[in-house]
């Protein structure tokens, strides 16, 4: 049942990581262009501004949880399987969440790319 244990860890990691990604994206859209903010007000101002976003902090909690899931999964499987599989499944899951929660316009080009990455993931697991 080692594969079941490994893929459960990857599944939990994917869900928490996607939720974190969507929250970070929502927070950063409210912050605005980080490069412009840094060159005008400095790095400290950027950090203060970003840390004021509650979605950023919530996203960080999700990503911290997914990081410890990643460490656990890495101790159970090869990095060349765990790292690409978890990250690309997160990619698909996050794009679906971005379409419905962030109202991003995910066009044909992006869906085809998502499909290619999905097939790529299946091949990585072989």
């Amino acid at each position: 049942m080692n594969w079941f244990r490994l893929w459960t860890a990857i599944g939990v990691l994917v869900l928490s990581s996607s939720a974190g990604d969507v929250m970070l994206s929502a927070a950063m859209k409210r912050v605005g262009d980080m490069d412009a903010l840094r060159s005008n007000h400095g790095l400290l101002a950027v950090m203060v501004r970003v840390l004021k976003e509650k979605f950023f902090l919530l996203g960080l909690v999700c990503l911290t949880f997914s990081f410890f899931c990643l460490l656990t999964a890495l101790s159970w499987g090869d990095v060349s399987l765990v790292a690409p599989a978890s990250a690309s499944l997160t990619f698909i899951c996050s794009i679906v969440l971005a379409k419905f929660f962030l109202k991003e316009r995910v066009d044909h080009r992006r869906w085809i790319a998502a499909g290619l990455v999905c097939v790529g993931v299946a091949l990585l697991a072989k």
Binding site: D35, F91, A113, L116, G120
Partner: protein, 142 residues
Amino acid sequence: MTIKKALIYAAIACCNGIGDVMLKRGMTDVGTIHLDQWQHVFTAVFNPWIVLGIGCLAGFFYSYLTALSWADLSYVLPATALGYVVTTVLSRYFLHEQVSPWRWSGVLLISVGVGLVTRGPSLTQPEIEPVEAVPEEVHELV
């Protein structure tokens, strides 16, 4: 694609791939985590490889946030996918793991997907989703 976007994409891909490989190298020293001793996972943060890996992932996080501040999540995410290419090459030649031709073709497909996305627009225009457009509020906060 501008130089700025290309540089941010490269930073996201390299930091992500190198960081993951260093974490795996560190977890090889730490050993297998057992469910009845799950607290053991926290001792990993004292391993130098894990510390270096976390450093790389911090660089990844900064570049990732910068990109997210001016591009869609569904546009930025493929940059993290480029990290798999780095991860696979490093795990073959640095960690000496076996990488089958199937995995190499997976890496190729992922790369093609990344190439496709980066040729499209980077940000959903507010006019398309007028309900979600809140420019006044954003400008006030900045």
